[in-house]
């Protein structure tokens, strides 16, 4: 980690009034701040004020019991920042950040489609990528779905020789 990044990281920890659970780096250019799910809107607002105003995207990652949600932000120069939070798979709910960053609409809809995370306060949480006749409650990027499909593919392969 570069000195500049270290300095900025320490500064963020000092300036933010709420709790930051963890701060680390991902490779050269990225600072990663982990916060609790209920802090997400507040912390995003803080980070935007801090200069990371551009939301690049929101990534969902299935980590078994939990779904990690990563908000990748950047400003005009390195380092960029990633906010990380995790919600339990059984109750995947999170406040929408569209009130802070209106550009988050599409990304939240995508994560909702593929991981089944409910974003509360989103203006229009309709289907974005999945077809209209896709069954309710099936989220294609959750591990169990991926494994189910892999097993089915294998079965079909064997059947067809």
């Amino acid at each position: 980690m570069s000195e500049v990044a270290e300095k900025i990281m320490a500064q963020v920890r000092e300036d933010y009034a709420g709790e930051i659970l963890d701060a680390t780096t991902m490779r050269r250019h990225e600072l990663v701040f982990t916060v609790a799910p209920d802090q997400i809107v507040e912390f995003t607002e803080f980070v935007v004020q801090y200069g990371w105003w551009h939301l690049s995207t929101i990534t969902g990652v299935d980590e078994g019991e939990e779904i990690a949600i990563l908000y990748h932000l950047c400003g005009e120069e390195p380092p960029a920042a990633t906010i990380r939070t995790a919600v339990p798979k059984a109750a995947a709910r999170l406040q929408s950040i569209t009130s802070v960053i209106p550009g988050a609409t599409m990304y939240e809809r995508e994560v909702h489609d593929l991981f089944g995370v409910q974003f509360e306060g989103h203006p229009r949480l309709d289907r974005l990528v999945l077809p209209d006749d896709w069954p309710e409650g099936v989220y294609p990027l959750r591990i169990e779905e991926i494994e189910k499909r892999a097993a089915k593919d294998k079965e079909e392969k064997e059947e067809n020789g």
């Binding site: 690049s56 950047c74 120069e77 209106p102 550009g103 599409m106 974005l128």
Partner: protein
Amino acid sequence: MGRITFPIGPQHPALKEPESFKITAEGERVVDADVRLGYNHRSIEAACQHRNYVRGQYLCERICGICSHIHCNTFARAVEELLDLEVPMRAKYIRTIVAELERIHSHLLWLGVAGHEVGFDTLFMYVWRDREIVQDLLELISGNRVNYGMATIGGAKMDLTPEIVSKCMEGCKLLLERTEYYKGVATTEGTFLKRVEGVGMLSQQQARELGAVGPTSRASNVPNDIRHDFPYDAYDQIQMEFEPITSDLCDVLGRTIVRVLETEQACRICLDLLPRLPEGDIQVRARPRVPEGETLVRCEAPRGELIYYMRSNGTDKPARVKVRTPSLANWPAALAMLDGAYVADVPITIASIDPCMACTDR
């Protein structure tokens, strides 16, 4: 006046790709617009988790048919970061040159399509004729007109011989001349200006808030360019003056001017890098198994910032690959542009973000 809601699509009104728009109009004016994506969803992110890194790279290259190299390159960079692999400088130069040639081809393609959208088919024919120059160069370098397969994990796949370098220099000089001509057309041609001036307005504040990227945001005077802000490959080796190209017009004309000037800039970058191509290997060996880790790489695709998030788990297959293409990032901005537009301007307004549906859906 009564409101009427009507669908446009799933066949796209501007480009021959499937996407559905729900437009609500009051008379001739659009008052609300929504987009329904997913007609082209191929589950590439999920499919990557079933494939090893080498096959995954081939798959990701096929996310987009226009900017395929940038996907191939960014995937390779993500894996290289996870492997802590330093790529030879010659390979970095080659990757950058191919990326810039691809930008030229993509922007010229767009300019032709834009001409077609406003009923200026002469421009379309002219531009696409000149686009053949760069297409020939790409074919000369890689053997292909699309999906060049030039980047590989650990370097570049094919070398540039001195003959290819000199042909590329010639081609870029010729393209510079032609771009000069299009600059004149885009800024002075009356029939073109009448259709694009003041159309599809997107203010600077909107562009920032809605997370627009690439030429779409730069035409609204937001100077974000990953090549400049977060240099990668050989972009930090450029010796000429290199600043993001912006425009404060905030309309379709602004986006046209930005793209034409970027075509010119891309030619100059090629002319800057080609003569200084360093000697050396073009590839280093990469292990098939990637140690556990996660990374995020950004790059500037022809349409804007492209992002790959990758997580590895120690096997030869990635645990998660997330791709966010610039077209997806520009949809909220495109819908904002449609607000208050004439129904007849819907196609050119949508086309002005240079949408790529295959990218958007993945």
